[in-house]
């Protein structure tokens, strides 16, 4: 999606990418069920095996950040479309042309 020429599809692609990264953390973070990280009645310290709570914290932070990024990107493409009257990424290349700035 990121490689499509339409700027709207670009933003959708970016949003999907950030979700993919979150899922990756989720999967690599040793997921298991039925093993909450809670210290039992007769124990002093947390004994393994337990589900790791940190990936959730990481993903939560990352979701908030990607939400902000996506919101910004949507406003940005709206402004870009208004200014340039163009939604084709291949035509947004005036800054690459020599002597054009």
């Amino acid at each position: 999606m990121v490689l499509r020429r339409s700027i709207v599809k670009l933003v959708i692609g970016l949003a999907l990418l950030t979700h993919a990264a979150n899922l990756l953390i989720f999967v690599t973070g040793r997921i298991n069920t039925q093993m909450p990280p809670i210290i039992g009645k007769n124990e002093d310290i947390l004994l393994p095996p337990f589900a790791d709570p940190i990936p959730q914290a990481l993903i939560l932070t990352a979701i908030v950040i990607s939400f902000g990024l996506t919101a910004f990107a949507i406003v940005l493409i709206k402004r870009t479309y208004k200014q340039t009257g163009n939604e084709d990424l291949d035509d947004l290349n005036t800054t690459d042309k020599i002597d054009k700035l």
């Binding site: 990418l17 950030t18 953390i25 910004f72 800054t95 002597d99 700035l101």
Partner: protein
């Protein structure tokens, strides 16, 4: 109590940023607060520098959670000297913006986002936790997105779309790498990771994580072959924004590379650092060749950012004491020289209304002073003695020869000559050439103080470095000793 100083740079900019939101509509108050906070940063980072210089690495455990469980902030000589440079750059850009930024941008939050961006930069320099590093990167990037798009000009928005897209992709890669690394080791603290990585059996996955980091930071630092976004987006915003970006953002990328590849990924030096060395050479050459084809003041300079990043990487790729010392020295030189060149291009544009070398000419005849300032920075960038760039390049090339990497050393010399070529091109076309100006009218500078003072300060600093290179080199060498001696760093952080 002294540990509190470590977090102070971040706190200063967080609060000034917050206060500036309230005073956004009042130009004078915003300007005063911004300048005051820049000076506060300078003072606090100088004190921190003195403390770290005298008593070694300082660590702050946020919320008193000992490493590796909580987030730790770490000040060593390298990160603190980068902080001092950040403070100097912020002061200069703030003064320069007084004269050159337009009131529309000021009203819509230029100062606010400048402060938040510096907060992100300071945080990335200080943190000792890779996920925290990711968060600081995002703080810095979000603010830089706003700064690059602020003003709603057509070129700016086009540049911003590219800049945002490439940076989001780079962040995703970074996050994935953090995820993989956490899955393998169960830790996020850099010092802790360094020990745990040696215990991981799946070496291939570690290499993959290392390359994810390399790609992600490589995009931010604009190394070959990931630099193409930089010349497309950096020249589009106004000059103060371009100059603070070129002084800090790509450098933070290189800084993160140095941190990660000297503390975490040192399990397989021939593999990872061999790649870094090859990329360094390619970055230098492509950057300088790209610049040779350009005829626009800012675009030439933007391509030179890419080329100089190659030199910074070269020292890391060598992975020797002298190599890293040269890199640190190069940081000092490049931040000053590059910013000054952008400042001067802004002044030239203000007087003649153009960045196009074909339309400029005869500046030397009318404005000899500004031409001499240009000569100092351009000479430094190209590596002409006695300017700081000469010393920086000398140390880099010497370190390469000492490690018997003759080819890459020769490439560095060749690139240096090509840099001289494109600096001379600007000089000949814009400053030396005699042309009549039928289509460009000359304008008087309205606020001479704001335009000239930053340029003069940078030039004086550069002359100081060229007269006393040995003092700066001693700082660089100490910093490099600390970087290479990661055992001391780990001991300080984890405490065993």
């Amino acid at each position: 109590m002294i540990e509190f100083l470590i977090i102070l740079p971040v706190i200063i900019h967080f609060f000034t940023g917050a206060v500036l939101i309230a005073t956004m509509k009042s130009r004078d108050i915003s300007r005063t607060i911004s300048l005051a906070s820049a000076f506060l940063l300078l003072v606090s980072s100088l004190i921190l520098f003195a403390v770290v210089w005298l008593s070694g690495i300082k660590v702050l455990y946020v919320g008193s959670w000992k490493a590796p469980f909580g987030i730790s902030f770490i000040a060593d000589i390298f990160s603190v000297s980068m902080l001092v440079m950040t403070a100097v750059m912020l002061i200069l850009v703030t003064i320069y913006s007084f004269a050159s930024i337009d009131s529309g941008r000021e009203k819509y939050g230029f100062w606010v986002f400048l402060q938040f961006m510096i907060m992100g930069v300071c945080g990335s320099f200080l943190t000792g936790d890779i996920f925290n590093l990711f968060v600081w990167f995002e703080v810095m990037l979000m603010s830089s997105f706003v700064l690059i798009a602020l003003g709603n000009e057509k070129f700016q928005l086009e540049g911003a779309v590219k800049y945002v897209t490439i940076n989001v992709i780079s962040s995703v890669l970074f996050l994935s790498a953090v995820g993989i690394l956490y899955g393998l080791t169960g830790s996020l603290n850099m010092a802790d990771l360094s020990g745990k990585i040696k215990l991981v059996e799946n070496k291939y996955l570690i290499n993959i994580a290392a390359l994810f980091f390399l790609t992600s930071f490589g995009i931010k630092a604009a190394i070959f072959p990931l630099f193409f976004w930089l010349p497309a987006s950096y020249p589009t915003p106004p000059i103060p924004v371009t100059s603070i970006f070129s002084a800090l953002l790509t450098k933070v990328g290189v800084f993160a590379l140095i941190r990660i590849f000297t503390i975490v990924f040192i399990h397989n030096v021939p593999f990872t650092h061999g790649i870094l060395l090859a990329l360094a050479g390619l970055t230098m050459v492509t950057g300088v060749l790209g610049a040779a084809a350009q005829f626009e003041f800012r675009r030439i300079l933007a391509f030179h950012i890419v080329s100089q990043i190659g030199y910074l990487l070269l020292g890391l790729g060598l992975f020797t004491l002298n190599g890293l010392a040269a890199t640190v020295f190069f940081f000092f030189h490049i931040m000053l020289a590059k910013t000054n060149l952008f400042f001067i291009s802004g002044i030239v544009n203000r007087i003649y209304g153009s960045y196009d070398l074909n339309r400029l000419g005869g500046i030397y005849k009318n404005h000899p002073f500004i031409s001499i300032m240009f000569m100092i920075s351009a000479g430094s960038l190209a590596g002409i003695p006695p300017f700081p760039g000469f010393w920086a390049k000398l140390f880099v090339i010497k370190a390469a020869f000492e490690s018997h990497y003759y080819f890459i050393g020769a490439v560095a010399i060749l690139v240096s000559i090509l840099t001289l070529y494109s600096m001379l091109k600007i000089w000949n076309e814009a400053f030396w050439k005699n042309i009549e100006h039928p289509d460009t009218k000359e304008e008087k500078l309205t606020n001479k103080f704001g335009w000239y003072v930053p340029v003069i300060i940078v030039s004086v600093l550069m002359i100081l470095i060229s007269v006393f290179p040995e003092h700066v080199y001693i700082i660089s060498q100490k910093a490099s000793e600390q970087i290479l001696n990661s055992a001391v760093y780990i001991k300080n952080v984890i405490g065993k």
